[in-house]
Amino acid sequence: MQSDISVRHLNKTYGDGFQALKDINLEIHPGEIFALLGPNGAGKTTLISIICGLVNMTSGNVTAGGFDIVSQYRKARETIGLVPQELNTDSFETVWDAVSFSRGLFGKAPNPGHIEKVLKALSLWDKRNNRIMSLSGGMKRRVMIAKALSHEPQILFLDEPTAGVDVELRRDMWNLVRQLRESGVTIILTTHYIEEAEEMADRIGVIRQGEIILVEEKSSLMSKLGKKELRLQLQHKLDRVPGELTLEPVELSEDGWELIFTFDSQHEQAGVARLLRTLGELGIEYRDLQTRESSLEEIFVGLLND
């Protein structure tokens, strides 16, 4: 299967000598939602900017839709829609004109039917004759997405799509992204909201200090690196972890009413049975138990701290 985006040995060093990207290799598959995670300044936006033509690469090769972004830049860029992080809009333009402008800029013949479809899908139809300056921040964000979709791109880049938007709009955005994926659009989103990646992504890449440190299916990433936690609420308070349990990764809560057992979700299922058996042998009774899987955020923090 040919990748929608292929990045090989990509390096970027800015004029001031700062090396923003170091030997990046990345393949994005057609129709997937790929989340690129990383702290501020990790190189997420630089990577997107190079693929989209906003920043010149120092060395390497990048293709989009199978076309080289330098030698075949026209065809490559036709396949891409970009929603940048900042709300960069022409304040005095109407929504309709702004979206139509984007379609023309990308070399597509006017198609009012398509613009109407996009505006309706984004709940912007009623605002089509409004100047962008009169819209709320959330609506402006939708206009940015409408502009990016105006030329029917095969690949959509969303750079921090929900930065600074309220919870309701964030949910709407997520639904929209899913709908786009269902229509066959490949989506690459950068975010530092782990919840966003956890909610939507098929695969996750983590970038740190200009290097991709991990690319993994979300589910396998969570099962591989995720930890589970078993919390046992005790019938009787304990002063310390019994000596028989010290070989297990067991902790006692501060108030002494809970035993907390942390285990690898993939490999240490046996540890739970062993723990419960030992507790039974020791006569330690519990009145409730609950398990919790570690979130992507905890995995992410762990990765960055490695």
């Binding site: 800015y14 004029g15 989209c52 033509g53 906003l54 920043v55 010149n56 830049y73 026209r74 065809k75 490559a76 860029r77 036709e78 891409i80 970009l82 940048p84 900042e86 960069n88 809009t89 022409d90 304040s91 005095f92 333009e93 004109d97 139509s100 402008f101 984007s102 379609r103 023309g104 800029l105 990308f106 070399g107 597509k108 013949a109 006017p110 502009k147």
Partner: protein
Amino acid sequence: MNLYGIRAIYKFEMARMKRTVMQSVLSPVISTCLYFVVFGSAIGSRMGDINNISYGAYIIPGLVMLSLLMQSISNASFGIYMPKFSGTIYEVLSAPVSYVEVVLGYVGAAASKSVILGLIILATARLFVDYHVLHPFWMVSFLVLTAVTFSLFGFIIGIWADGFEKLQIVPMMIVTPLVFLGGTFYSIDMLPEIWQTISLFNPVVYLISGFRWAFYGVADVHVGVSVGMTLVFLTLCMTTVWWIFRTGYRLRP
């Protein structure tokens, strides 16, 4: 060639002219009318003819050129600077448009606006001063050539500028003095010999001289030299624009 892309940029820029008609059209027309009233009708009626042309009529080509230069620079520099300032330039840079197409869109629109304005000013001048155009083809050619050349110059300024102050510096501090000292209100033959020689280093002298020749058949320098100098400046601007896009200067880091 991405014709839809060029059209989109061109239409967008022309729409800005419609939105700002007071600033883009009325303001320069009124300013130029004031020149006609003061120098053409009021003071001009007391001044002698220059090369057998009434003073009011003599200054028309220079005044049209003054507006044309200022508006070409201002339209083009503002046209490219604003997307940089607001951040919307990302869309142009990520679009499948070549730099030639970008320039055709922005510079074409800026030059069109300037030519329209120049023609409006010429029509308005008729209300104040009687004049004729001896070589209409060359008059329009000079108008278009100058508008394109200085729109390119404005485009370069718009890319170079990193603040509104810089956007104003070149038109106000350099171009205006060059136009005023370039023979708008006088023939350089009227200057002492040393100043005549110094004036020949002012590129605007050639523009105004050529343009005036198209009207009345008289010129401070030969019309061929005027066309040649304009083409030299046009080539310089085109080379600079080519270099800007090749290197990504202030556009693509």
